[in-house]
């Protein structure tokens, strides 16, 4: 008997090892990509700064010229882009996995719009800034999430109703943002752009610590639940039978995902489609070899940094990152719809 099972067992072991390898390879590749983008943004812009000077500036030395360009202009921008992108990618994938639907990302079901509306309200109407805006925005994001969930669960199931309710909620919140912006003292287009499509133009080094804390705390909370989340994909009953505390997991995941989204949105505005795109791309790359959370976070970072770089330097005019990701993301959503429809599945 044992001799008959052994080869199968060995093959299974080997397959598992290969899958794990693929996951590590993908994550490694994405890490390298993130670092490459980071260095590219820091050294190549309107003028080219040699990498040695970049490193010197980061280590705190004063280099004439490079200190200003790299330290004041590029570093805050790229750090904010990196952290916000990671936040959006992680949170988007968490929502998608938790609700078992690629369309259930925070930017489609209104969570990002809610956080953004709260941030605009806090800044324009209440003259708040920094951490208090983020807290306000987290609170509003949670309220919107709970409202959308509450309105869409009927006889214990949400399904596609959740997405439709979310679209309605998002439409209303967008008009709240539009109203608040029209109430602002002067219609500052740059500022408005930030809240309509998201932009890292006003990034400052002082915003980085808050983002770091958010990514560290909420991100690690999410990643600590990544195994449970994977099991949740098989269905609530199965997960429960396998020993996952379903409701607790869901609560932790939702809290930390909303936290990530809200702190990110309070800094840069809702950068269009990053949360929606990262998850499906990550799933494609790792193709079921492990948790999609970490790769999705890295992809989010790549999207925001890359989108910002394209918007700044590769197009004839300078565009905020949200315009670039919006123009990239919407065709992808349409492609996703067409592909799912063709296969005969219903969305």
């Amino acid at each position: 008997m044992t001799t008959a099972i052994n080869p199968i067992e060995q093959r299974l072991k080997q397959a598992r090892k290969q899958r794990a390898w693929r996951w590590y390879r993908v994550v490694g590749f994405l890490l390298i990509l993130v670092i490459a983008l980071l260095l590219l943004t820091l050294s190549v812009g309107q003028s080219i700064t040699p990498l040695s000077e970049v490193v010197a500036v980061i280590l705190g030395e004063q280099v004439p010229g490079a200190s200003f360009v790299v330290g004041q202009l590029r570093l805050p921008r790229v750090l904010v882009a990196l952290l916000v992108g990671t936040s959006f990618g992680l949170a988007g994938a968490a929502f998608q996995i938790m609700l078992r639907n690629p369309l259930a990302s925070p930017d489609i079901i209104g969570v990002s719009s809610g956080a953004s509306a709260a941030a605009v309200f806090a800044i324009i109407m209440l003259n708040m800034s920094g951490g208090s805006v983020a807290v306000f925005s987290i609170f509003a994001g949670l309220m919107v999430t709970l409202t959308v969930f509450g309105l869409s669960f009927k006889h214990g199931s949400a399904g596609t109703r959740l997405i439709l309710v979310g679209i309605g909620m998002a439409a209303m919140l967008e008009s709240v943002i539009a109203y608040l912006l029209s109430q602002a003292q002067s219609w500052d287009l740059q500022e408005a752009m930030r809240w309509l499509t998201g932009s890292v133009n006003s990034a400052q080094l002082t915003q980085v610590p808050l983002l770091c804390i958010s990514v560290a705390v909420f991100g690690s909370l999410l990643l600590s639940r990544s195994k449970d989340l994977e099991v949740l994909r098989t269905g609530d009953e199965t997960a429960q039978a396998l020993g996952v505390r379903v409701n607790q997991t869901r609560l932790v995941v939702m809290l930390s995902a909303v936290g990530l989204i809200a702190v990110g949105v309070a800094t840069t505005g809702p950068i269009a489609f990053v949360a929606f795109l990262s998850g499906p791309i990550a799933v494609r790359l790792i193709s079921n070899t492990g948790s999609a959370l970490l790769p999705a976070g890295l992809i989010g970072a790549c999207l925001v940094m890359g989108g910002d770089y394209i918007g700044q330097f590769l197009l004839p005019n300078r565009y905020p990152v949200g315009v670039v990701t919006g123009a990239l993301g919407a065709p992808y959503l349409i492609y996703l719809m067409i592909r799912t429809n063709r296969k005969g599945g219903s969305l």
Binding site: S175, L196, Y319
Partner: protein, 340 residues
């Protein structure tokens, strides 16, 4: 809500009575729209203003409110009819020119005309708006109709939302680098009737009239389509021709409205639904009542926007979104559509 639905169930009231009531309401709304605003006016001023006198500030402000009221009236009825047609043709309860991205598509083409081809006269860009509306409608329809189960409400709403976001990004991308027109970007994102002039009304009037006529002539045929494509064909109707006819009417109405007011959402969603509760599914009554109620809703929203944000005002597009989005969610919760 359930109580209301059964109470107002179809054909409880004779259609003529409903239409009479909404016509009376419309007159009241027009009076309100002329008399309410930042500046308080007396009855005498209103009458003088209507006679064409602009001697005092009060009379002048009445004269200013006239084109605005007229535009809200026209735009509201156009959007109401357009929404009723779209819901009938697609048999989709969530169809609405705003949600399907048709309005923002019209905006997009107008912006492109403004920026790249230097078309600054409205007589030129009415055509662009209608063309844009038609292209977007076709695009959204084709995308959501792919697949075996056809255009489900969810696919429709998603395709519309995705197209809207993409088009908004493109509008931003076109407008942002150009400071001379960047200030007007707001008016292409939120619809309003505040900037109405008699000139713009006369320009869109022919399109609205043709659209209205087309929809009147298609109303009866849409009733046969409602029985199902097979039955309609059995009754000797060309289903495709009716569809094209109906879409043309809907797109003309929505496109011309957007050319004058910018994108206004949810009117075409809310109004036909309420009217269907009142008069039932006969498209002839439904469209007539939708036109009247649409005008009522838009006028009411405009007046509300002026009252709420006094002494400034809220764009009517914001007010309709606030009224319409909860309504949208209510429909989603109520529907027992197979996709839900």
């Amino acid at each position: 809500m359930k109580f209301l639905c059964t109470y107002f169930s179809a054909n409880r009231f004779p259609p003529m009575m409903l239409i009479g009531c909404s016509a009376v309401l419309l007159i009241i709304m027009c009076t309100l729209s002329i008399s309410i605003g930042t500046r308080v006016v007396a009855w005498q001023d209103i009458i003088n203003g209507l006679m064409g006198s602009v001697a005092t500030m009060e009379e002048a402000s009445v004269a200013m409110r006239l084109p605005r009221t007229l535009l809200a009236l026209l735009a509201g009825s156009a959007l109401g009819i357009s929404g009723a047609i779209m819901q009938s043709v697609t048999r989709n309860p969530l169809a609405d020119p705003g949600l399907l991205g048709v309005n923002i598509g019209a905006s997009f083409f107008v912006v492109i005309g403004l920026v790249w081809f230097g078309l600054s006269q409205m007589s030129h860009y009415v055509w662009l708006a209608i063309f844009g509306a038609a292209t977007t409608a076709l695009f959204v329809h084709v995308i959501s109709a792919i697949g075996h189960d056809g255009a489900t409400p969810l696919k429709f709403a998603l395709a519309g939302a995705a197209t809207s976001i993409a088009i908004s990004s493109f509008i931003m991308a076109v407008v942002l680098p150009r400071n001379d027109i960047a200030g007007s970007v707001q008016s292409w994102q939120i619809g309003g009737v505040g900037g109405a002039t008699y000139g713009s009304i006369t320009l869109i009037l022919p399109f609205l009239l043709i659209g209205g006529l087309l929809s009147l002539t298609v109303a009866r045929k849409l009733n046969t389509i409602a029985l199902g494509d097979d039955v309609a064909m059995g009754l000797g109707e060309s289903v495709t021709r009716i569809r094209i006819h109906a879409w043309l009417a809907a797109v003309l109405l929505a496109g011309a409205t957007t050319a004058a007011c910018g994108p206004i959402g949810f009117v075409g969603l809310v109004v036909p639904h309420l009217c269907r509760l009142l008069v039932g599914i006969d498209n002839r009554w439904l469209m007539t009542l939708s036109a009247l109620c649409g005008a009522n809703l838009l006028l009411a929203a405009d007046v509300l926007g002026r009252i709420l944000a006094r002494p400034s005002e809220l764009s009517v597009g914001i007010v309709t979104a606030f009224i319409g989005a909860p309504f949208f969610i209510w429909i989603v919760r109520r529907q027992k559509v197979k996709a839900l």
